[in-house]
Amino acid sequence: MEKNNIIEVRDLVVGYGADTVLENISFDVEEGEIFIVLGGSGCGKSTLLKHLIGLIKPISGRIRIDGDDISDCDEATFKKILRKIGVLYQSAALFGSMTIAENVSLPIKEYTDLSHKSLETLVKMKLKMVNLNGYENHLPSEISGGMRKRAGLARAMALNPKILFFDEPSAGLDPVSSVELDNLIIHLNKSLGTTMVIVTHELQSIFNVAHRVIMLDNKTKGIIAEGNPKYLKDHSDDPFVRNFFNRKSEH
């Protein structure tokens, strides 16, 4: 079955002021795909993510999310797009004064008419889904970094968005928590069919979860590789790409 492109990026130029970080990049993300944006530090991964979720307007180019142009749209369309996306920030960005359950229920309360009882049940289901059942009444400061990430994920997918964006999900996690989060990403992708766009440079995670990757480079300010990471590891024409996937130094 042919899949739709849920994200279309065309001739995108991004940067800060007059300094461009990425120039004329184009790529597509298919519906239901786990798509990873990777590259060395300072190559513009996080900047690209901020553009994809509409936090920053591009210098030029087009970003279409499920058919709507996020780079140039009116407020109503922008809000419509925001309902379709969820973001897990690097620090999880949970609200410190609210319990985990309150954090997760915040968007559900705002956008649905569920009764208090149904809301409570749903929040428990969401937290069970990320293996945080029993921690509903804890404050973010009372749980570990890995748990915070999972709680952030539960909040990001509170309304079951079509696309989930992850900014460095494995950053600051121990290997076990990191693998658990990877498994959760795979599980959610399978069970709900959510498209996942992940910005990371954690090789193990990339090999574990990615269907397809693009690799950014700060020298060319563009995409230097695109495809399956396991294939690129051994068969990429670019030695820099092979070195990256094989953890080899250039020197």
């Binding site: 956008y111 649905t112 409570e120 749903l122 428990k124 289901m125 059942n133 029993g134 079951n160 709900l192």
Partner: protein, 378 residues
């Protein structure tokens, strides 16, 4: 058999048998958009018709997420409450996957964090007060030590930062201090002229404005503005550094956080707040002069002469000295509140509020002390 009902992207059809069995045929997507409507519709159906058993046929359900699972769980619970049977029929594999994997565990009841009882809060407040006083004493000691060290090692003073804070606290505050003081002088002159005009004592407007502003209102107004602008900024800056572990980083790099963060702020404030007060006095006198010239038919010359005749050097220096003391209090309490920040963003907000409130209280308190002391010294 009843006709189809449309609910967003989901439709359903109901069939009821004579022995009380109800079958609901669902079709389409069950998701966040229609979950609450479905729960409501099916809830009223169960209440109205009290079926003995309820079967949900999911054959034509194309998408079901955890909102969909919630609908099923709620229906199951409603039927259990009504002592009826509940079954699923023709659930596709992926639908079952969602239901199986997302069944609710025995989770605790959700609670809303409420403020503790009055007694707990009272006890907590006392403990907090004791801890604050302890910290306050140690902070006074720490600031004194840092200044003593800086006095004997002047090169240790971070001059760049000190100049930066001078600019932020002094130069950047000048427009607002000037404007408020000018308006204060204007209002005072205007209000007092109404009374003084009756006695033909217009010229004393100059005395009233100049004396009140240089001795009392100039230093107080300037200090309150500085407390709002810079005291709060010191508290939030240090507070944010505290929660992002920058203060810990300074400490582990061998810096004394007090010497590094507090000394430049206090030094800068002590230097610029008296200068700001001087400007405040001048702008207030100009405000009074404007009323005197344009409303009271006084000449500018006469107004200035009367001002100079009224003011003594003592009045002027008293105001400047007081503003120096206020500067120490504002920057000291701002930094102290910043260092007391614990936890997250809310704590930074509390520290900022507390810095401003405490500064204003201390300004008024010390001003009263000056007034009483001077009364007895004379």
């Amino acid at each position: 058999m009843e006709s189809f009902k449309d609910l967003s992207s989901c439709r359903y059809e109901i069939s009821e048998s004579n022995d009380g069995e109800m079958i609901i045929y669902l079709e389409g997507r069950i998701d966040a958009d229609n979950a609450s409507s479905l729960i409501e519709s099916f809830g009223s159906l169960i209440r109205d018709r009290s079926p003995v058993s309820l079967v949900l046929d999911l054959k034509k359900v194309t998408y079901l997420d955890d909102f969909g699972a919630l609908v099923l769980v709620e229906l199951r619970d409603m039927m259990a409450d009504a002592k009826g049977e509940f079954n699923l029929k023709n659930a596709r594999e992926e639908v079952l996957f969602v239901i199986d994997s997302e069944a609710i565990a025995e989770s605790p009841k959700l609670i809303k964090i409420r403020p503790p009882s009055m007694f707990v809060r009272f006890g907590d407040a006392i403990l907090k007060y004791v801890s604050d006083v302890k910290y306050l004493i140690s902070f006074v000691g720490s600031v004194c030590l840092a200044f003593t060290y800086t006095f004997f090692h002047p090169k240790s003073l971070r001059m760049d930062d000190t100049f930066l804070y001078m600019q932020k606290t002094g130069v950047d505050a000048l427009p607002i201090v000037g404007m408020i003081s000018f308006l204060m002088g204007l209002i005072m002159a205007f209000m007092s002229s109404i009374q003084l005009q009756m006695f033909g004592a217009n010229i004393y407007v100059a005395s009233l404005v100049s004396l009140a502003m240089t001795r009392e209102l100039g230093p107080i107004m300037t200090a309150i503005i500085v407390a709002g602008r810079s005291g709060s900024s010191f508290a939030s800056e240090i507070g944010t550094m505290k929660i992002s572990e920058e203060v810990d980083a300074l400490f582990t790099m061998g810096f004394d956080p007090t010497r590094y963060l507090v000394v430049p702020k206090i030094m800068a404030s002590v230097f610029v707040v008296p200068i700001l007060t001087l400007f405040s006095d001048i702008f207030a006198i100009l405000g009074g002069l404007t009323v005197g010239v344009f409303m009271l038919d006084l000449t500018a010359n006469a107004y200035i002469l009367q001002t100079l005749k009224t003011l003594s050097l003592f009045d002027f220096f008293l105001g400047i000295f007081k503003s120096g003391v206020f500067a120490i209090l504002i920057s000291w309490i701002g930094c102290l509140r910043g260092f007391r920040v614990k936890g997250g963003a809310a704590s930074v907000g509390q520290a900022t509020t507390s810095a401003v409130v405490s500064s204003i209280f201390l300004i008024i308190f010390f001003d009263s002390l000056f007034a009483v002391t001077l009364r007895y010294l004379k």
